[in-house]
């Protein structure tokens, strides 16, 4: 990995990149988190990347899924019923 020289608060964009992908919503107040936050405040590329990653996750999280159909549920219990009958027959 190409390491950038340290410009902003002793962290390179590559350092920030690896952390961004691990824990996007970290609310921790550790030394490394404070450095990342400081970097993000000043680096518009890293901050745009973080924002777009968060939006990607938001979109997938809020993607509306259809409801399960009554037919699928009914079919499931019909299969289970058949399974039970099969078990009974094998016992006999």
């Amino acid at each position: 990995m190409k390491r950038r020289p340290v410009h902003i608060h002793l962290l390179s964009c590559a350092d920030v990149y690896s952390h961004l992908c691990d824990n996007l919503d970290s609310k921790l107040d550790s030394e490394s988190c404070r450095k990342i936050k400081a970097h993000l405040k000043e680096c518009k590329n890293c901050s745009a990347l973080l924002d777009s990653l968060k939006k990607t996750i938001y979109l997938y999280r809020h993607y509306p899924a259809p409801k399960i159909s009554a037919k699928a549920r009914k079919e499931l219990f019909a299969i289970i019923h058949m399974e039970k009958e099969k078990r009974k027959r094998t016992r006999c």
Partner: protein
């Protein structure tokens, strides 16, 4: 085990299912159908396939309930069955190389990379409901190999911890983390053209 008159626990229901109680099985299905359905749909992105996966999962639960020893949460076991079901159906594709390239941080001094980092448009909820965006989201996630998709859905959509995701998928925690990182970058990249301002 003393059973309360109110809501039976998972362990109580499972113990009754093991003894052949059909009503306990129905109660277990009712309790977890939305979990299984939601996860199956998010993986399959297709109603018919998700229904098949939903049914296969509960049929497997019925067949293999004796194998469930209660050492992990019942929901973890369910997620494992759905994930295995999904993984068994399809084989991984040749995207591994491309995904591994996301391990490297982008070179932010490169002009092309800077274009890729341009801010995204705001995404109000209504926009998500628009067919076009849904299609983009489906198309992008469908391109991920299934083991990556499972990790992304578990971690970022179902909001499971890295440890629980590792337990469900049988991967190590570092493997979960690297798959998650690559998946996020891959999906972001595929939505970029649509989302940039």
């Amino acid at each position: 085990m003393k059973e309360s008159h109110h809501t039976p626990t998972d362990a109580q229901l499972i113990s009754r299912v093991k003894k052949g109680d059909e009503r306990a099985f129905s109660a277990l299905v009712q309790r977890y159908e939305h979990t299984v359905w939601g996860f199956a749909y998010k993986l399959c992105r297709d109603k018919e396939k998700a229904e098949e996966s939903f049914q296969d999962t509960f049929v497997n639960v019925f067949r293999k309930i004796d194998q469930f020893d209660g050492r992990s949460k019942f929901s973890t076991w369910l997620y494992t069955i759905v994930a295995n079901n999904c993984l068994m159906k399809r084989r991984r594709r040749k995207l591994e190389d491309l995904l591994e390239s996301y391990d490297e941080a982008p070179d932010v001094e490169d002009e092309e990379v800077q274009k890729q980092l341009a801010s995204w448009d705001d995404t109000p909820a209504e926009k998500l409901l628009r067919g076009e965006l849904k299609e983009q989201l489906d198309r992008a996630i469908q391109q991920l190999p299934d083991d990556y998709k499972v990790v992304f859905v578990l971690r970022d959509i179902e909001q499971k911890t890295a440890e629980e995701t590792a337990k469900i998928t049988g991967l190590s925690v570092p493997a979960v983390k690297s798959r998650l990182r690559r998946s996020r970058m891959f999906l972001r990249q595929h939505l970029h053209e649509f989302m940039k301002q």
